[in-house]
Amino acid sequence: MTAGPGGVNETLTEVGQVHGTDGATAVLGKTDHGDDGGQQSKSPRQIAFARLRKDRIAVICTVIIGLFLLMGIFAPLIAGIEGQNPTDPHFDLIGDDNLPTFYTSGDHWLGLTANSGYDVFARFVYGIRPSFAIALIVTIVTTIIGVLLGLVAGFFGGWIDRVIGWLVDFVLSLPFLLFAIALVPIMTTYLVPGGQPTSSEVQKIRIFAVFIALIFFGWAGLCRLIRGEVLALREREFVQAARSLGAPTKRILFKEMLPNLTSVILVAFTTSLPAWIGAEAGLSYLGVGISLPTADWGLDIALGQQQMQAFPLPMLVPLVGLLILVLCLSLLGDAVSDAFNPNTRR
């Protein structure tokens, strides 16, 4: 993470460009004197964001992700324009062979799904909600857990480090997909009040179980990363100085070290978000996540796949949606990583 010589030079140049002067002068000359108050030195974070703003791919991806987010937030409104609901079946428009009797129409912009005749457009608009919500919450929770445990393990060392390290190894050694597929039904059975849940109760339990499964597996990688960073940081002069001044542990961890880890955390956050969206959709696709009638991209792909040869639209719409969203999030994650870590820039 520490920038090599090239990185430093580049950073200096960029700071200079921001100020419209030669980089070296800007840093060494003017700002130190402090005689033009509006001109402050840039923090590494500000520099990184400046880089991001100049990265065309990052900007395009951000816009697209923003649009998807807005679509999810205003799903009822958008589906309302079409006048359809994602969970209303249209059996009267389904023919003898269980396929819709038309491809698309003014009422159903992207047609209907086979069998039950759900509106494809409404399900597309609503379908982003579970994926994004689950992925976002899982990413936030795993980041918090991973960072906290990583800080503690790296800073204290000793038996705490060994215990946490062992936990991390344990979690990382479990096969994620297999474990998640097994865990969701088992949890559904054990979390049932009274042993006889109805379909709607089971739906809630399953969403909860998916959360647990994803969080259980999500924190370990980040924890290991943070621990490594902390091991390096705790020997640095400013930490030693704070220690010798008698600063409390809490202050050292959160005021001295954490700010220096922001970029690592941010990069981990942006790269894991698309992974969790993919994981949620994958679990729903495999039949252990969200179930009917709730709209969900992974689930809709699985259902549409059955009639793929005869009528591909109900499968393609959520598939393309998922593809674009995950691609944009991944590209944005790469861009964020590049912006914070000039060594990796192309």
Partner: protein
């Protein structure tokens, strides 16, 4: 017979009839022509009503005439999506295992010959189809001479007795087997089989000389010779009985012997050279080997067959045809698909003890058959809407005007149902049932079912259970639910009413979960006892009358659909015909083009 063949659909229900479809040019091939045509002109319907009349031909001579053009050799593959719980002759009672056993492995006393699509009871190891005494309480079968096991040793008369005795060992080899021998044979109620009671004197069957079997019955069973076609009647030599392991290395008497049997995946058979075609009036042994693949996925298997790729060209799939392949098997590849009537029917059970009669009728009015079948995505080729409790291929079947609450099709009439509920003061009546929660089509079907019932003013408590557990859950008579408990469907064992109505409606099967709606009624039981004792010809119209009476007065369940007997086969598989009684293709008549 039990209903494994369509287990996947028992949760769902299926389609047969379409609504007016609005426009053509959509993905639905039927869009242009659909016009609410009902089921009248459907070929499946026409075939289903070709009743399998109970006919016998005791004089059929062995050997069977050669199939025209048939050649020996090659390997035949059979793909079965289910996994029979046992292949031991004493415990076989499922549609698929029964066919594999009786057609290839175990010869019994009688068997079926298909004449122009209709099954006729003909002799097998016995010389005729059995003789009933004047009082109907004794059945006599004379056994052929020169019968051998696959190891070359001769079949002895006491082996038949021992084989039948094994079918009483309900704790081990006969776990899922037939129950008629317990109900009808003398001493059957108390006999526990040769392992638990090795010295017991079982009086149900005796021998006369070295070639005659005499069965002693406690009550009249005019269809006993049909029952004698079950694998439970095959001979088993006591010296070679290895109990639980016998199914892996059995001595067979049929045209094939067992090479290997991996439970749950594969059963490999090869020609039994000790089977003498001159003693068998029906079976052939054309393929050199037969490989039965168990627990396979129907869709993949059918795709392989219709693509005629790999072993697909030599494969028969016995599962229901997947909806996505419907256009293929009704169009260009229709000569690779066989469709015919079966012995099976499915029901929507309504617990008579927990749901009042008026409410049961209201469920019938509200039940969204069409929506459920569409949501499940099932091909109309596999089903016909049912309006009676017995399948149309039953002898004496008489279609009466469907009652308004038991039409077996339509979108449901929530307004009418609500009015009935209001009148009975039962608005908001809670219907509780289990459904398969880990199968997307079953979940989709349940969503449609639930919507339809809620619209009619019911409260619905739908409890999802895993597919593997559902069979057990719905068989539990004490489960805290009031709908869809008991048998999801029934395939009759022989085409007369005494293998349908007493099983479903006498109440005897309540602990085993083989009844419809936990129904038990003294008046109906007395009537069934009376009809059971009649001659089959006279009994047939009486059974039909009883069907209508139960449907009108009691409604323990809604008839859902009659299932169709289907087979999808590769282009090298020849001479595929279907047997409506055992609901399977006539496996012993197949041959493979080289």
């Amino acid at each position: 017979m039990r209903w494994t063949k369509l287990a996947a659909l028992s949760a769902a229900g299926v389609t047969a009839v379409s609504l007016a479809a609005c426009s053509s040019g959509g993905p639905s091939g039927s869009g242009g022509s659909g016009s609410g045509n009902g089921n009248g002109n459907n070929t499946a319907a026409a075939k289903q009503s070709e009743a399998a009349v109970a006919a016998t031909n005791p004089d059929l001579k062995a050997p069977a005439p050669e199939v025209k053009g048939a050649k020996k050799g090659g390997t035949l593959y059979i793909d079965d999506h289910s996994n029979p719980p046992t292949m031991d002759p004493a415990g076989i009672y499922y549609v698929d295992s029964n066919a594999f056993a009786t057609q290839y492995m175990y010869r019994t006393l009688t068997q079926f010959q298909i004449v122009k699509g209709k099954p006729v009871l003909v002799p097998d190891m016995a010389e005729g189809v059995g003789k009933q005494s004047a009082d109907g309480l004794t059945w006599t079968f004379k056994i052929r001479k020169g019968l051998k096991y696959s190891d070359g040793s001769p079949v002895k008369i006491e082996d038949f007795v021992y084989g039948l005795k094994r079918s009483f060992a309900k704790e081990s080899v006969a776990l899922n087997g037939t129950d008629y021998q317990r109900q009808f044979l003398v001493g059957g109620k108390d006999y526990k089989g040769p392992y638990k009671q090795p010295n017991a004197d079982f009086k149900g069957v005796t021998t006369k000389g070295d070639d005659t079997l005499v069965f002693h019955l406690v009550k009249k069973l005019p269809s006993f010779n049909y029952f004698a076609s079950f694998p439970e009647f095959t001979p088993v030599p006591k010296a070679k009985d290895t109990k639980g392991d016998y199914q892996k290395h059995p001595l067979t008497t049929g045209p094939y012997k067992v090479d290997s049997y991996n439970i749950g995946s594969k059963l490999t058979l090869s020609r039994n050279t000790n089977w003498d075609p001159k003693t068998d009036p029906v079976r052939h042994a054309y393929p050199d080997k037969v490989q039965i693949n168990l627990a396979i996925t129907d869709l993949g298997s059918q795709q392989r067959i219709l693509a005629n790729s790999g072993t697909g060209t030599n494969t028969v799939n016995i599962g229901e045809i997947d909806a996505s392949l419907e256009s293929k098997v009704t169009g260009a590849q229709k000569d690779q698909f066989a469709l015919g009537p079966s012995s099976c029917e499915y029901y929507v059970n309504l617990d008579v003890n927990k749901i009042p009669l008026e409410v049961r009728k209201a469920v019938g009015y509200a039940y969204p058959f069409n929506q459920i079948r569409k949501a499940a995505g099932l091909s109309k080729l596999n089903y016909q809407p049912a309006t009676t409790y017995a399948a149309p291929s039953l002898q004496g079947y008489k279609k009466y005007d469907p009652l308004p609450y038991a039409t077996g099709q339509g979108n449901g009439d929530p307004a009418k149902a609500k009015a009935i509920l209001k009148k009975a003061g039962k608005v908001g009546f809670e219907l509780k049932y289990y459904y398969t929660g880990d199968d997307p089509s079953a979940v989709a079907a349940n969503t449609a079912k639930k919507n339809g019932l809620i619209k009619a003013g019911f409260k619905v408590k739908d409890i999802p259970v895993p597919k593997a557990e559902r069979t057990k859950k719905i068989a539990d008579p004490k489960a805290p639910v009031n709908m869809s408990q008991g048998t999801p469907g029934w395939c009759y064992d022989w085409p007369t009413g005494d293998s349908v109505y007493p099983v479903l409606f006498s109440g005897e099967g309540i602990p085993d979960g083989t009844t419809v709606g936990q129904f038990k009624n003294a008046t109906v039981n007395a009537e069934m006892d009376k009809i059971s004792k009649m001659d089959p010809e006279k009994a047939a119209p009486e059974w039909a009358k009883l069907d209508q009476e139960i449907m009108t007065k009691y409604v323990p369940g809604l008839p859902d659909y009659y299932s169709m007997n289907t087979a999808t086969f590769g282009k090298n598989v020849q001479n595929v015909t279907l047997n409506p009684i055992i609901s399977m293709p006539n496996l012993s008549q197949l041959w493979v083009k080289q």
